[in-house]
Symmetry: C2
Subunit: 451 residues, 2 copies
């Protein structure tokens, strides 16, 4: 385990000069922070578009914003990107020699198709890393930029959904010397040297893969929130950041509505048991959340997640339970329709499958017809607008008091419960309620289980 921390800073952490100065102070504070992975600049005002969206707009000839019912010409997007980087350079008070010229040239690139989209989309990270490295140097740090094309962050040729090649790990050994290396996230290069990007949110993945490649002591993920909260702080203002979580817990929470960084990005760290530390660039004094391979739980429940827009498809059929494979057939049909399923309680004569309600849009009539023709249920119903509240915690193992507390509290508040499940893995349980009462239910569960 090298004594290196890989620190990844998200879009809001590097959105403007003021934020980049915070990044500098954070990096300076711990000499182990020798690999810094950066995103493209995020929004610096909520009114403006993200740099990366402008870049997609340029790449797609104006389609990108049109899809969002905005009309921004390509020329305006180019201008916005150039002005934004120019402004950052000026505010950081560095020359950035040649940077704006190179950027302009890149924006006029002649690539076509996916290669074009990948190349242009990656420019936000690319130029931001170059600017930040130069700023670090100008302010007296031993720093350099480490571009994927230079050190060989090799990826597959799926230009818009690339995956890392094994050789890349070896090439990463060049990183993490005495100097601080600033690496742009989100993209790599193919063996023939062309730019390809990870799926969006992929700067997190760059950070995770590099942490794995250099056997980092930890992977810091700096954002604009102070970690993973016990519950959505917009609904539960007293919710705090969870200090320590296992990979298993965070995955359960995020699958049920917690909005944390890209799950895929955790896998490289999980495999090598490298802890991930989620921290707030705007409040580095706060402890944040550490995601670990294992921990000893001191409490029952660490967090309550909420997943909205769940529907259930309910089928009744006499002797259904005797038909081996009925459920498999049903799930096969749902797969064919591309519908994500969450949970499948089944009984003798009925089965209820919870699904992502949005997946039913436009498909529900065909789906009903298909199920009726193939499975011939006696009765079929689709119920919409459920919310699933999920309590997660290693401390739930072999401990049924929390679910009793949860159900008692909801009962006392007269909140009807649509569904209850605690699975054999037993580090979480799920309670389904009508979406209209989900705000209240979340608050009640938080207070009963954590607060």
């Amino acid at each position: 385990m090298a004594d290196i921390i890989v620190s990844k800073f998200g879009g809001s952490s590097v959105a403007n000069a003021g934020q980049i100065q915070k990044v500098r102070r954070i990096v300076e504070e711990d000499s182990r922070r020798r690999i810094v992975v950066v995103s493209a600049p995020g929004r610096s005002k909520s009114s403006e578009q993200k740099i990366t969206d402008h870049l997609f707009n340029i790449a797609t000839d104006g389609m990108h914003f049109r899809d969002q019912r905005l009309s921004i010409p390509v020329a305006d997007s180019k201008l916005a990107v150039i002005e934004r980087f120019t402004e950052i350079l000026q505010q950081l008070d560095i020359s950035g020699e040649g940077i704006i010229e190179a950027l302009k040239q890149d924006l006029d690139c002649k690539l076509r198709g996916d290669r074009r989209v990948a190349f242009l989309a990656s420019r936000g990270e690319h130029y931001n890393a170059r600017i930040i490295a130069e700023y670090f140097q100008a302010s007296g740090m031993e720093a350099e930029v480490g571009l994927p094309e230079d050190f060989g962050l090799l990826v597959s040729e799926q230009f818009l959904n690339a995956s890392l090649l094994q050789e890349a790990y070896g090439n990463m050994q060049q990183l993490g010397g005495e100097k601080i290396t600033v690496v742009p996230g989100f993209y790599g290069v193919t063996k023939s040297g062309e730019v390809a990007v990870f799926s969006r949110g992929g700067s997190d993945l760059t950070g995770g893969e590099i942490a794995r490649g250099v056997h980092a002591a930890s992977y810091e993920n700096w954002t604009d929130v102070s970690g993973v909260f016990e519950a959505d702080p917009r609904l539960v203002p007293e919710a705090r950041a969870i200090p320590r979580l296992t990979f298993k817990e965070i995955r359960l929470l995020s699958s049920k509505g917690f909005n944390v960084f890209h799950l895929n990005a955790m896998l490289p760290c999980k495999e090598r048991k490298i802890p991930i530390h989620i921290r707030n660039t705007n409040a580095p004094e706060e402890g944040g959340t550490v995601i670990l391979f294992e921990r000893v739980p001191e409490e029952g429940v660490v967090g309550v997640a909420r997943l909205d827009s769940v529907a259930y498809i309910y089928l009744e059929k006499d002797m259904l339970g005797e038909e081996i494979g009925f459920t498999a057939d049903l799930l096969g049909i749902l797969r064919e329709f591309g519908i994500q399923t969450y949970h499948f309680p089944t009984d003798k004569d009925d089965i209820a499958v919870l699904v992502n309600q949005d997946d039913l849009t436009g498909a529900i009539n065909d789906l009903r017809r298909r199920i009726e023709q193939q499975l011939k249920p006696d009765f079929m119903d689709v119920v919409y607008n459920l919310s699933i509240l999920t309590a997660v915690g290693l401390g739930l193992q072999g401990n049924s008091y929390p679910i009793v507390d949860a159900l008692s509290a909801l009962g006392k508040a007269h909140i009807p419960i649509e569904m209850i499940d605690q699975s054999p893995s037993q580090i979480c349980f799920h309670i389904g309620v009508q979406q209209t009462v989900a705000d209240d239910a979340l608050k009640i569960l938080y207070r009963a289980l954590i607060g």
Copy 2:
């Protein structure tokens, strides 16, 4: 709705002369009991074999008992059948003219294959019905035998797993006149007049189908227990018969371990909303259990069932939850192996499928190999010897107090809970525990929810 009750008497209710005299008194007591369906004589001593088993033994040339590691020659089985019916005739003090001769001739029948097995297996019901009809007449009742071959209880040509043909319903209109008709259960005749039997337990089906065919006011199912109990009375001595249950409730209870009569046999009555009344021939003064199409619940839980020998197959795989269709694939494999599944909780990175443990015998190694090759889980485990306790009651709808009470009571008794589920249909919930503590858990749940 005709003013007829179809009364079916099971094997123990017609096992000997004393029992048949009880049947006579029951039939006499209510003039609506004009169709009486009878089983073959059951064991009259626990040491002896059932008539129908002897008949299977004759049909299979001694194989039937050999499969049960008994050695009873065909000649002995023939003798046992003849002696038993002779004894019943003598004790009922009727001549039964020609009956024993006809029986002897039937036992020597020259049919082969499934036709032979079906014909011989049906002889217990056939001759019992003839004897009981004659006894009814001899004791002054207006009665006659109604044989499937005479009134046309037509069935398909699957000789050992026959199903009723639509025409049979029309033919049943001949039954239920002024006279009491005694009908042998379990068999019908094909269009070409050959005997074919329902799957075993099929006398219940004969009764249910006839109740449907004659639009009976109710279908009485007379047994040696006083109805459906709230919980297994061997474990919970204070458990009482449940007075009223819906079809839905009984199906849920019986799917989770309640041993009531053949579920298939309920379908004809359920379709026509004919109530089924389960009663005790040995205690006709007791109310028994009425199974109805609907009812207004006065309580939360009506019964707690217990299903043993449940195993769960647990799989972990990173990003499993993102793979649409992973569960469908898993269930497809289980179907291919003929393994019955009960319940499928699933989470982001894991899935646990509850299965009938007996189905895994001999198949588990191949199944593991197959799952590992096809689904490539990161981790796979099979946990054996779970019991699923299921609380059922219409009154559970929108009412979560019972599950809170159940979990609190188990918690207080320090019984670890492996699994909890209350499905959206919500008239039952399931609690999984280790089989070793299931006796205690059942008692605790009974006392917390019902007793």
